[in-house]
Amino acid sequence: MAVLRPENEEEVVRVLLERYERGSPVAVVGSGGKSGWGETVAAEDSLDLSGLSGVTLYEPNELVLSARAGTPLSMIETLLAENDQELAFEPMDAAPLFGGASGQATLGGTLAANVSGPRRIKAGAARDHVLGIRAVSGWGELFKSGGRVVKNVTGYDLSRGLSGSWGTLAVFTEITLKVLPKAPDSATLVVLGLNDAAGVDLLCAAMGSPWEVSSAAHVPAALSANLPVDLGAGGRALTLMRLEGVGPSVDYRAEKLRALAGDLEAVLVADTESRALWRHLRDASFFAGGQGALWRLSLPPLGGPRVVNSLKAAGSFRHFYDWSGGLLWLASEPGSEEALAALMRGTVEREGGYATLVRRGTTSADVPAFHPQAPALAALARNLRQNFDPKNILNPGRMG
């Protein structure tokens, strides 16, 4: 088992060209924090991209930043914070879900998995913030796509298209991102004691209001005590709505949101504590350090509570909703893994969504980690993979 650690783009090309010629696969790795997410890669050797590090361009007034793929996100976020800017998609740090250390994630890994946080519902996903890429395909050839400006429709949007491809089509070497001003102030209105359906209904009403809610989550009673901030909720469920912006705007909208919530009991959480809450929700930290099966469901917001109800009959689990109900994290309790897995895909499909088995636990290897696609779409995916990586050398098996 060899670890190949290129120091620059030319070396990535050389390594992959050689691998292409031998037909010999590699596991593509940033910091390895998400190695447990998805299927096991069928490759002895790994291509470690942490040597490709550093910000290559940052122009705050142009809202643009380029960095090599192995650059730690923490380095980028620190640099941005010095200029009161941020990555608006609020990248999730998934490593602790697999027992890894937090703060290690790389830019390339973040984009390869297209992981976004609670603000995704307003600001868009990781892929929405990619302006351009440089990458090496399974042919061992370097190519670029996109550019460094926001408005660009020149050619296919491969930058976006390769996001979320888990390193199976090409290996990013450099990424150019749109960055945005960081809101100077924030607050979160937390409504107490709603059941799932009422909570998600309220979130949808808030998202459908003009009050520019930037994140909307519902944490049922079973998990509410595990948040890092004591809200005095006494073990009740929490329905959280985040407001960000300039101070006067946040205050104004907080009043409006309170009115929207009517007679419901609510508390307003100020900036610092609000940030801590959303960081916890971003990383699904309730489930960090656990071993059991962990599911991530993406579906139309109102469908979430119905899926939860259907699954309750089959087994026990803990769960919470983000993205106004459209993102459902669900952790099986011991003994329920197989029963939940058996029902999961069919149940979520009926609601127009899909389910990813993020952490397998003891779930049978027969259950695919990624949601099986309809045959025509699966055929399209095979074509694409065949065209970009004809000898199957990039992360073979990772997406099933």
Binding site: E59, K151, G155, L158, G161, P210
Partner: protein
């Protein structure tokens, strides 16, 4: 008219025309197939009117099944297909080919579902952009991307071109506002991608399809996200003694952490033309005019208006006006929105360009453009989505003067090359189409284009869908299908480089 190199027609297709028309008529009965010259004439061009071509036949399907059967038939019989929405493309994306069926989606004009709680609307592709906003307006919602042709352009066309608009600085392009599509592939296979949810599992096909200019499939249904309209929108009209000062103001607004809903700039020729035409109250003694619109909650907009006003004054603004009501805001926009017809009065013809540059390059690019204008002896008026660096120079010419169109096109090419040279791109929102395809080499090398071709081939390996668009003609990778140019070892070394 300049001669445009299009892929050589399949002679076999031309010879079998009547047989093909009969087969298509069997799939789409009644008036669904138009094959007579008079009937086809209205479809001979799109918004890029310099090029015209009658198609092999026009087909107007009504059902997904008909689209699927038409494409399957064409796939089996090696017949090329050009999809068309409302035909408002400014890059020739829907330009017909002599040997291609023109698949017109205008009968797909129904709104299928409005789902307020999930903030999604499901529509057929022929529904116009504006019709979506109108359908949800009674509950205060709207669909954010607002291309200037929104009254006519179809959502299917918006998906194909990844259309933008003046508000995309804050609200994103089509790609940021589409949640899902149903699409028919060239072999007739129907696929559904995404839905009323924020993510799609597996490869991001949705991201690849939006902006693919009708080369990957024919969209038969679109799910878009809708937003609640902001509580208030207000605009500032700002005049500056130089484009440098206006450009600096734009940079300072962004640097202050403010993302306006729209930030438009006009240069002196555009200001004067617009004012003469629309009488919007624009100052006549400034070199550059900015319209900055801020929208959102009342408590926020008032605060930000004051901040922008201060930034403008710090940047030598010689004219400052803040809209006090909706009427005045509309008036500020009136001139900008009428700018195209206004410029149209300055010369018999104009040619609209669409490059994007890094904002800070604006003064340099404007200066260089004035020099080019003198070199070519053709006037130019500039409109600019200043917030995101998207330029719309309008080159003035007279098509009746022999050689002027060619000169205008050469001028346009030089402008786009200049955009790429300063770190920008060939097209910000109008698409590559036939217009800019031969300039792709300015931005992309052979390997870059080769990898785009790999995506194309995964969807349409016979290259039957919208050929001659987006990719350079005589590009060595253009006809490769699944074969790949590998490290210069190409099968036809005698084909010239573009």
């Amino acid at each position: 008219m300049t001669r445009l190199a299009m892929p050589a027609p399949f002679t076999d297709t031309l010879e079998r025309r009547s047989e093909i028309v009969a087969a298509l008529s069997a799939i789409v009965p009644g008036e669904g197939v138009v094959a007579d010259e008079r009937g086809m004439r209205p479809f001979e061009c799109d918004g890029l009117t310099a090029y015209q071509q009658l198609p092999l036949a026009v087909v107007l399907p009504e059902t997904v099944e008909q689209v699927s059967r038409v494409l399957a038939y064409c796939h089996e019989n090696n017949v090329r297909v050009v999809p068309r929405g409302s035909g408002t493309s400014l890059s020739g994306g829907a330009l017909p080919l002599e040997d291609a069926v023109l698949l017109v989606m205008s009968r797909f004009n129904r709104i299928l579902e409005i789902d307020f709680p999930n903030r999604a609307v499901v529509v057929q592709p022929g529904v116009t952009n504006l019709a979506i906003s109108k359908a949800v307006a009674d509950r205060g919602f709207y669909y954010a991307p607002d291309p200037s042709s929104q009254i006519a352009c179809s959502i299917g066309g918006n998906v194909a071109e990844n259309s933008g608009g003046v508000h995309c600085l804050k609200y994103g392009l089509t790609t940021n506002n589409v949640l899902g599509v149903e699409m028919v592939l060239m072999d007739g296979e129907v696929v559904r991608i995404g839905g009323k949810r924020l993510d799609a599992e597996g490869y991001d096909f949705l991201g690849m399809i939006v902006g693919s200019e009708g080369l990957l499939g024919v969209v038969t249904e679109v799910t878009v996200r809708i937003l609640q309209a902001p509580e208030i929108a207000r605009a500032l009209l700002l005049g500056f003694p130089s484009s440098e000062a206006a450009g600096a103001c734009v940079g300072d607004v962004i640097a202050a952490g403010i993302i306006p809903a729209g930030m438009e700039m006009m240069d002196r020729p555009a200001i004067l033309a617009a004012e003469d035409y629309a009488h919007a109250g624009y100052p006549r003694d400034v070199e550059a005019l900015l319209i900055v619109e801020l929208d959102g909650p009342l408590g926020e907009v008032g605060h930000l208006i004051a901040e922008v006003e201060k930034i403008a004054r710090d940047n030598e603004a010689s004219f400052v006006r803040v809209s006090q009501n909706e009427e005045e805001r509309a008036l500020f926009w009136l001139g900008r929105k009428a700018a195209f017809p206004a410029v149209g009065r300055l010369a018999p013809d104009y040619y609209c360009m669409d490059g994007t540059i890094p904002r800070r390059e604006l003064p340099h690019v404007l200066k260089r453009m004035r020099e080019l204008s003198e070199e070519y002896g053709l006037g130019v008026a500039n409109m600019f989505h200043a917030g995101d660096g998207n330029l719309h120079p309008l080159i003035l010419y007279d098509a009746n003067v022999p050689g002027e169109l060619e000169k205008a096109e050469a001028f346009g090419s030089d402008i786009l090359k200049l955009c790429v040279e300063v770190g920008g791109v060939l097209t910000g929102e109008h698409g590559v189409g036939v217009e800019k395809r031969d300039l792709m080499g300015e931005m992309f090398n052979e390997q870059d284009i080769g990898h785009q071709q790999l995506l194309k081939a995964a969807f349409d390996n016979k290259h039957l869908l919208n050929p001659g668009k987006m990719f350079p003609q005589l590009c060595r990778c253009a006809e490769l299908g699944r074969m790949h140019v590998h490290r210069g070892r190409i099968p036809f070394p005698d084909i010239p480089r573009f």
